[in-house]
């Protein structure tokens, strides 16, 4: 490889001077004359049937320009998976006949100031017949559980199956041949992205009939295409401007601010800003979902893991968002950076009446890495092997096959183990120091 001149240099950030002088323009710093503010009315309960929705008092409140409900949404589906051919759609942009989680958006109040929008939002009346919520994966999968999805199960259906499967080798035979069986159950709970900048969107109607949408989305075209489908307009009617984001961490891949703000702008003919409150960011934006992971590993005396069987249950919350893909990504990565010749995975994307989960830094892989690596230490302690050595012994090498039947080609785990040991001054035996990621000679 030729000598690189600029790649590899710690040049200063292009946006650094704007940041340190407070002059970087974020979406919330954009304002237009006669701009309106949007405030969302959300479901106060986790599950129920909407009996009546009465917006008349809010509409009559001085300074209110409009109240947007499901009736105003041309195509009332969040289509983020539908856009790429994964279905069925399951989440309305604004709730209509039912609410599925505490925080589900129902009606958007659009007013001259944020304070008026806030005050008027309190006047929207929603009567909901409460139903018992499904709270976690066990409740969702229990016999007789209320079925909360139109298609008749509480799981996402992967090509007709209620789970994402991985089948590699033969785990039953391998368990029979194993010297040790180590089992472990792991659980994570939901957490938030917490960007310092909440989701914010400013929509301005242009004289030529287009809409300019200022957004802090992480994915401009993805948001544009989804918004166009929801608005039922050609994509070329919309212009997305963004690219300066006050932290994302996966939370700004949801298309949850732009469609409603755009509809509010179309309905009023005026620029509209929607800046999520911090409470909304915590309670109504997607989270990293909870995972329940049940592991059974078969190990030989020499430390080689020869079989892994996993049942993983993802609490996706009330709707898909990106979770069905997160489960696939989870299933594809839970052999970790190791070679395991026999792998059996059933990973379920399960729906509950909880704030929806979606992508968050490490999507699907964070819980897998957590479970895999604690499991590695458990195995080491069980069979009496050093936690370093067990990782060297099992680390995948270039040329080996992963459980998803893809050949390993950029392996460097062994090298990071050696470098980490050196960094902390932990002496490694010669046989481990002699290992490298290209030392696999073939089956």
């Amino acid at each position: 490889m030729k000598q690189l001149r600029i790649v590899g240099q710690s040049v200063k950030r292009r946006d650094g001077m704007g940041h340190v002088t407070g002059q970087t323009q974020y979406v919330d710093d954009i304002t237009y004359p006669h701009m309106l503010w949007l405030r969302m009315v959300r479901s106060p309960i986790a599950r129920g049937k909407v009996r009546t929705l009465d917006t008349s008092c809010a509409e009559a409140y001085p300074g209110v320009a409009a109240v947007v409900t499901w009736r105003d949404v041309p195509n009332n589906w969040y289509t983020i998976l539908g856009l790429i051919g994964v279905g069925p759609n399951d989440e309305p942009v604004l709730a209509h006949e039912q609410v599925m989680w505490k925080g589900e958006p129902i009606a958007a109040v659009v007013a001259e100031t944020e304070e008026i929008a806030r005050a008027a939002a309190a006047l929207v009346r929603v009567d909901i017949d409460e139903l018992p919520p499904v709270r976690d994966v066990f409740e969702a999968l229990a016999p007789g559980a209320p079925i909360i999805k139109e298609w008749g199960t509480n799981t996402f259906m992967y090509e007709g199956m209620p789970m994402r499967r991985v089948r590699f080798g033969n785990v039953d035979e391998a368990f029979a041949a194993a010297d040790h069986i180590v089992e472990g159950t792991y659980q994570t709970t939901p957490y938030e992205h917490v960007p310092l900048e909440t989701q914010t969107c400013v929509v301005k109607p242009e004289p030529d009939g287009r809409l300019t949408i200022h957004s802090n989305t992480q994915a401009l075209y993805f948001t544009l295409d989804n918004t166009a489908i929801i608005l039922n307009v050609p994509s070329n009617r919309l212009r997305m401007i963004g690219g300066t984001v006050g932290g994302g961490f996966g939370g700004k891949v949801d298309v949850v601010a732009e469609p409603v703000t755009a509809i509010a702008s179309m309905k009023t003919g005026r620029p509209v800003k929607w800046r999520w409150t911090r409470a909304e960011e915590f309670q109504a934006s997607s989270t990293a979902g909870a995972w329940r992971m049940e592991y059974k590993d078969g190990i030989k005396k020499d430390g080689h893991i020869i079989a892994r069987k996993v049942r993983a249950l993802h609490d996706a919350g009330a709707y898909h968002r990106h979770s069905p893909y997160g489960v696939t990504k989870h299933a594809a990565n839970l052999q970790g950076p190791y070679y395991i010749p026999n792998v059996w995975v059933d990973a379920y994307c399960v729906y509950t009446n909880r704030q929806p989960a979606s992508a968050l830094r490490g999507f699907g892989v964070t819980p897998a890495s957590f479970a895999v690596e604690v499991q590695m230490d458990k195995i080491a302690r069980t069979i009496g092997m050093d936690p370093w050595e067990i990782r060297f012994v099992n680390a995948y090498r270039n040329g080996q096959m992963k459980a998803i039947q893809k050949q390993v080609e950029d392996a460097t785990l062994v090298e990071t183990l050696q470098a980490a040991a050196k960094l902390i001054g932990h002496p490694l035996p010669e046989k481990l120091l002699a290992m490298h990621s290209n030392d696999w000679k073939g089956a």
């Binding site: 405030r39 304070e115 008026i116 806030r118 005050a119 939002a121 309190a122 409150t277 409470a279």
Partner: protein, 277 residues
């Protein structure tokens, strides 16, 4: 409904006039660090609001061996009070720097657990609350001030104008257990003050607890257990156990009742042990 008016009285008398006129309809802001959160979120929408920031209630002065602290003295200022290290320590553990610059000492009496650390220290210091109304003022011990979660003994036309703290005797320690090292609400706080005689025998003790009940409280039976004894492992263990019995904490996002009760024991023991060192 949107707020109609904000009053910023420039004297205690003007504040009391407004209070007498509007009573409970008037939301009182000390530094605003609690109420403005609710206003910004739309959780409350008071018709009338009064800020005490200019009411001349922030004076701090030493009088006849005790300290008179104006109601709106900021926690940042309280954190600098070298005469009252226990209270200063409690104040220093509240919020971040900016919050301490805004929040007031009297305001801290009105925020329910797991906030309200300053009140815990004030309980251990035998503080008295000066409550004023148009017709006059009264003095009530802090132990009589709290009536329930976010409920006080104040009448609708009464205002806390000052907090009086006697010069403390004995040795005192403030301990706070949070979920992070700084800028954290309490899992549990303990403010402990012990007066010992020349032989090391406890002649008087105060054990005050935060986030251990509906409001900051004193574990009087734990205090009594120390009476007449040396501070040693048996007496400290007994006091910690009594303090756990006195605690009736709540569960919230930070900790459960079970955990808080346990930590009352740990904090009281550690605070008393710190006094012996």
């Amino acid at each position: 409904m949107a707020t109609e008016a904000m009053f910023i009285p420039e004297s205690p008398e003007a504040a009391l006039d407004l209070l007498s006129e509007h009573g409970r309809e008037l939301l009182i802001l000390g530094g605003g660090t609690a109420a403005m959160v609710l206003i910004n979120e739309g959780a409350i929408s008071p018709r009338l609001v009064m800020s005490l920031q200019r009411a001349g209630l922030n004076e701090v002065r030493a009088v006849d061996g005790h300290l008179e602290i104006g109601a709106t003295a900021s926690l940042a200022r309280v954190a600098q009070l070298s005469a009252l290290p226990l209270l200063a320590d409690a104040a220093r553990h509240i919020g971040g720097w900016a919050i301490r610059n805004m929040a007031t000492l009297a305001g801290n009496l009105f925020v329910p657990p797991p906030a309200g650390d300053a009140a815990v220290a004030l309980l251990a210091l035998d503080a008295e609350v000066i409550a004023a109304r148009k017709s006059g003022t009264r003095k009530l011990p802090l132990t009589k001030f709290f009536k329930g979660r976010a409920q006080t003994a104040l009448g609708p036309d009464e205002l806390v104008t000052r907090i009086d703290v006697p010069r403390p005797s004995g040795a005192a320690v403030f301990l706070k257990l949070g979920r992070r090292r700084m800028n954290t609400p309490a899992v549990v706080t303990a403010a402990v003050r012990v007066v010992r005689d020349g032989q090391g025998i406890c002649v008087d003790a105060r054990i005050a607890l935060g986030a251990a009940g509906e409001y900051p409280l004193r574990a009087t039976q734990a205090e009594a257990v120390l009476q007449g004894r040396k501070l040693d492992t048996p007496s400290i263990t007994d006091a910690a156990a009594m303090a756990m019995q006195a605690a009736h904490p709540s569960s919230d996002a930070l900790a459960s009742e079970w955990y808080r009760r346990k930590m009352v024991g740990v904090c009281v023991r550690r605070a008393l042990e710190a006094i012996t060192r």
